[in-house]
Amino acid sequence: MVEFERILLRDIGKPNSWSLQTYEKGGGYKALKKALSTYSPDEVIELVKSSGLRGRGGAGFPTGVKWSFVPKDTDKPKYVVANADEGEPGTFKDRVILEEEPHMLIEGIILAAYAIGAHEGYIYLRKEYPLARERLLNAIEEARKAGFLGKNILNSGFDIEIYVYIGAGAYICGEETALLESLEGRRGHPRKRPPFPATHGLYSCPTVVNNVETLSNVPFIVLHGPTWYRQFGTEKSPGTKLFSCSGAIKRPGVYEIPLGAITLKQLVFDVCGGLKEGHELFGVIPGGVSAPVLTPDEIDVPVDYESIAAKGSMLGSGGVIVLDKSFSAVTYARRAAEFYAEESCGKCTPCREGTPWLVKILKKIESGEGTEEDYNLLLDVVKAIRGKTFCPLGDSAACVVENFATKYKEDFEALLKKPVAV
């Protein structure tokens, strides 16, 4: 089995990995001390920019660039928000950081706040992670006692507070603008963009929203520098990435792998030990349910942003779901569609009305009642949704269903009622 150096997952397995003591022993908060004593905020942004770090929440947007969009000459307060909503099915990599290494995230948030000039940080945590909540609150308390949080931290003149906000269980609230609405106490509906959160975020003030894993990379970049960071990963996808692997595999779990170092196939068969006895590979979803499925002959592709995108899917959140042949494509499509129909926020017509319709048609086909006409209608509805929704959720629903329906057309045809000859 391939083994890689663990950067983010450094402390996993150590006793009390979530404590300040363990974190500091491994070099924790050194980056913060270094930044406050030697770097200006702009220099921190510059470091992150040249490290090439890309957002780990799904879209892969360059983090340093995002930070540099925050206006400097404003009298409005600024905010850093850590997106810990981790709602993408098949994704559970942030959870490991939140539960096992909360200080890594906290240090990342403080550095981000220092870089953009924010004095308040929020962690938007999914409700289903009660242990993470406990450990985060504990870690924040520890950090405050140690002088990393509060007024004038480490005598630098910089003030920073971090608050934990618990979501109410909606997938859409992982989408950054819906998250901000929810954080403001409103309905979790995405906002119109532009303006982007960097200029009009929380309470219409400049805000940086980053994924937990993204922020957890920052201390390493600040401490060791971009060149060190870039020794991992590829030119366009630097660094390591956490992959949460699930499905009928022998060793499900979270793995840290330098981007592009191995192929998806190696990840499934070497790292995860291949499929369980008696299971046959159907396909692999590389980046959470919203990433289109890759068929067994498409998975010989390096795990980095570009290579997977070239196959028509996306690295997304790194939630690798291994599908096996116990179920038909119709069932997989129906399960995915049900998720989207359930989680559609309801703001826009095509997603709100279209996703439940997809489910109904898929159920009809699954039960053997569907005809060729229903199959065509399914693709028509997909077309009526795709490219017309307010946010990417509805689009994903359409693409995922379309993907199953076209890549595994024979599974569908097998279930369609044949026209009876008269």
Partner: protein, 850 residues
């Protein structure tokens, strides 16, 4: 100007404009559902998708939310765009009940119309439709959730424009639905606007439900008769035609089914931009009230006899001439309610002042301090607001003083919400405050119940100190004393007195309050917006229905008696004839017993009104008046804007326009030619009333249209300020007992007169308003209610042990020692306990138990 390509043509755009705005401006049609020009952009319905190409990238974007950029290539009519529209319509119709034949919106429904032109011919949806329960959210509103397309317009209006919070969206995805948050009546005075912003018939109004189709009625341009904002409205009345039930309006006599079908908003960005309040929208069926007076009547041997108009005119004219002859013209007086048209007010003043020759004419409430004159005129040299309504949008610092805007001038509240949202500081100072003020005020301070005058004087004193100007009379009293009497904190009040402030207050407030705030505004180079309590209050002043002003000028030494003075003189037997025009002093004024005594002391009482009431019983002659919906006429709103209201329905019974009656009497007495056309009266006004001379005539052709935007302001803002010569003195407060906010007086409570949106002379005659009207209701703090052991009903006891049975409603916003009673006193005679300032004193007997 920058350019882009729209449907193959190069067009210019203003930076910041959306594709939709440019397209609509150029007449390019793009269908919409969620977009509404007066609401924030939602971009949810996706009906307005158009093809946009920019820097090599092409896709469908919502035109309502996409700002045009240089170099964009936009196509609104590609196959893909058309297909997208069709798809959205198909989606929206999946669960739509298609009950168009029984839906109120049929014929004016965007969903129906767009489906007809752009939609699929049939549905491919073979599954069961959603079914949701009907929701009654308000006595006048019903929601049909099955019809709703979740466009969010109603919610945007409700939450963003009116800043209310008890109507919104619930659930998500296919479980999403719109509706009220609680099963209580919606806590909004603007809920009816949701009917109009709804693109289809999901929200319906009770007055219009199942009644008509758009092609069956005719629309008349009118003005809200309910308050002095003068909201522009469209009145829908049934007309004859093939499909109607066959009532023809023009020239016809009013039939039983002559009805106003509904009242909608008529956008006028200077006045109501474009919204209207629920009272304006829903309260109109009083035109058919059974309490309408139908015939002219003369009392003979204690009984009213129906007579013809000629007879009543000659009878009254003869009587008036006789009394004038015998007792002099000063023995004749007139009190008006300020509800009629300018034309009628003009002839009322003309009849009394010119023809009879008395100055005893007023339309204000009988405050004793109003005897001194007109508070605005004293300071500003003109009795008019120096601000326009829309100056609310220009002011950075706004102080609303003493007026419960929600109850009396609701639309001002909407403007204040908008002002605050765009960054103005809005302060409210009042006896108490409620959720209504919290919607727009950035800061709220409550002064002592009896500290109103001192609160206003504190503001003036601070303004004087800031400007280093000595204010005569005020120099003897320290700011600290004033603030202490007012119960206010110095630092807070100092903060709100700013250069350029806009002061908003109403004209029922004490003379000294009005004067002090007017004065403070001049010191601060600010403005005042006076909210007239009478719907045409400004018009009545301008027309000279005032004992101190004629034609906008002070009568100085020759001034007549104010309402208070008239009533007092009457009690002393000095008034022999009293003309009551649209006013019932017995139920509309405090101090009922004294008023009644005054009425009884007058020999000859003529009542001109539309409804039977208390005072009609004491009248010698009663003449039926038309209501605003039944006549043409002009009205001057509180900012001095003259607006025309069209007649929408035929007159009721034998009722006549008031101006016609007064003119007949004038003609009868003087022999002058009678006037027969209302426009001739308007012309007389324009020719003789100073500020109205600026109105260009002939206006006739313009009258029928929504009145032109360019009517010059009637009142020149650059008035010469006359600084008050009268001394400001600390007057002994007229509340006759000691009272501090929150502290209970040992043996009783303070009775405070106030107003309620749904308790007016009109709503009390509107049957369908019953669930909203607080009949026989007083309000008290719930803690007091509990302390007193009251359950629903109680008996209030006056100083002479007289008893009043009332319903007690809790109101958390009231100070503990207060019992709030509502004008007008048609349902209970609690005004017997009120002094002329609207204060009284009661005890509470043990609760009535059932």
């Amino acid at each position: 100007m920058p350019k882009f390509i729209l449907n193959g043509k190069e067009v210019e755009f203003k930076p910041g404009e959306t594709i939709l705005q440019v397209a609509w401006r150029l007449g390019v049609k793009i269908p919409v559902f969620c977009y509404h020009p007066h609401l924030p952009v939602y971009a949810g319905c996706r009906m307005c998708l158009v093809e946009v190409e920019l820097r090599g990238r092409k896709g469908l974007l919502p035109s309502c939310a996409t700002q045009v950029a240089e170099g964009m290539v936009v196509n609104t009519e590609t196959d893909e765009v058309r297909q997208a529209r069709k798809s959205q319509l198909e989606f929206l119709l999946l669960n739509h009940p298609l009950e168009c034949p029984t839906c109120d919106a049929g014929g004016e429904c965007d969903l129906q119309n767009l489906t007809f032109f752009l939609g699929p011919a049939e549905s491919r949806y073979t599954f069961k439709k959603h079914e949701k329960e009907l929701v009654e959210a308000h006595p006048y509103l019903k929601l049909y959730p099955n019809r709703c397309i979740l466009c969010n317009r109603c919610v945007s209006f409700y939450q963003e424009i009116s800043a209310n919070d008890d109507w919104g969206m619930f659930g998500r995805g296919h479980n999403m639905r719109v509706g009220p948050y609680r099963d209580k009546i919606l806590d909004s005075e603007f809920s009816g606007n949701m009917i109009e912003v709804c693109p289809l018939g999901a929200i319906t109004g009770r007055d219009y439900r199942f009644k008509s189709r758009p092609w069956e009625h005719k629309v008349f341009n009118s003005i809200s008769p309910h308050d002095s904002i003068g909201a522009n409205i469209k009145v829908y009345a049934r007309v004859g035609g093939k499909y109607s039930r066959g009532y023809i309006i023009e020239g016809g006599v009013r039939g039983e089914n002559h009805e106003i079908l509904r009242v909608n908003m008529r956008p006028n960005y200077d006045v109501n931009d474009p919204w209207i309040d629920d009272r304006t929208r829903f309260i109109h069926s009083y035109v058919n009230s059974s309490e309408r007076i139908t015939e002219p009547l003369i009392k003979r041997e204690g009984e009213f006899k129906e007579v013809v108009w000629d007879e009543v005119i000659s009878h009254v004219s003869g009587k008036l001439a006789e009394i004038k002859e015998k007792y002099g013209s000063e023995a004749i007086a007139g009190i008006a309610g300020g509800r009629g048209s300018n034309e009628s007010a003009f002839f009322f003043a003309k009849l009394l002042k010119d023809t009879i020759g008395t100055k005893n004419v007023d339309f204000r409430i009988p405050r004793r301090d109003f005897e001194q004159g007109d508070p605005l005129y004293e300071v500003l040299g003109s009795s008019a607001s120096t601000a326009k309504l829309n100056d609310i949008y220009n002011a950075k610092n706004i102080v609303v003083f003493g007026t419960e805007i929600k109850e009396t001038h609701p639309l001002v509240g909407l403007k204040l919400v908008k002002a605050r949202k765009s960054g103005a500081r809005v302060y409210y100072l009042g006896k108490w405050s409620s959720k209504a003020e919290r919607r727009w005020a950035s800061r709220i301070y409550n002064y002592n119940i009896n500290g109103e005058v001192e609160a206003a004087l504190s503001i003036l004193k601070i303004a004087g100190l800031k400007k280093e100007i000595q204010i005569e009379g005020l120099d003897k009293v320290s700011l600290e004393t004033l603030l202490e009497l007012a119960g206010l904190e110095k630092e807070y009040i100092e903060e709100l007195v700013k250069e350029g402030s806009l002061f908003i207050f109403d004209d029922n407030l004490p003379y000294d309050v009005q004067k002090a705030l007017s004065y403070a505004s001049t010191l601060l180079d600010g403005k005042i917006l006076v909210l007239r309590n009478a719907p045409n209050g400004q018009g009545f002043i301008d027309m000279g229905v005032s004992p101190v002003l004629s034609n906008g000028q002070s009568l100085e030494a020759e001034k007549g008696l104010s309402t208070y003075g008239i009533l007092k003189a009457a009690r002393e037997g000095k008034i022999k004839a009293l003309l009551l025009y649209n006013i019932d002093p017995i139920v509309e004024f405090p101090a009922r017993d004294e008023v009644l005594e005054a009425i009884k002391s007058v020999d000859f009482i003529v009542v001109f009104d539309s409804f039977w009431s208390e005072v009609t019983g004491y009248a010698d002659v009663v003449m039926p008046l038309t209501l605003s919906f039944e006549e043409d006429g002009s009205y001057t709103n509180t900012e001095g804007r003259v607006q025309w209201a069209e007649k929408a329905i035929p007159v009721y019974g034998m009722a006549r326009e008031a101006w016609r009656i007064f003119a007949s009497i004038v003609g009868y007495i003087t022999g002058e030619n009678r006037v027969n056309d209302v426009k001739d009266v308007t012309e007389m006004i324009i020719n003789s009333i100073e500020p109205y001379k600026k109105l260009k005539f002939p206006l006739e052709s313009k009258f029928k249209e929504p009145y032109p935007d360019n009517i010059p302001s009637l009142h020149n803002i650059k008035t010469v300020y006359k600084y008050p010569t009268a001394e400001y003195k600390l007057r002994p407060r007229e509340v006759s007992f000691k009272y501090e906010t929150g502290e209970k007086i040992t043996d009783g409570y303070v009775l405070v007169m106030s107003y309620h949106l749904y308790k007016t002379v009109y709503t009390l005659r509107t049957e369908d308003a019953a669930p909203l009207v607080p009949l026989k209701v007083v309000e008290m703090n719930p803690l007091t209610i509990r302390q007193e052991g009251i359950e629903d009903e109680a008996i209030l006891i006056g100083p002479r042990n007289e008893e009043y049975e009332v319903k007690v409603m809790p109101n958390r916003n009231l100070p503990k020692g207060v019992v709030r009673v509502f004008y007008p006193f048609l349902d209970y005679d609690l005004n017997s306990l009120l002094d002329y300032n609207g204060f009284g004193h009661v005890r509470i007997a043990q609760a009535v138990r059932r």
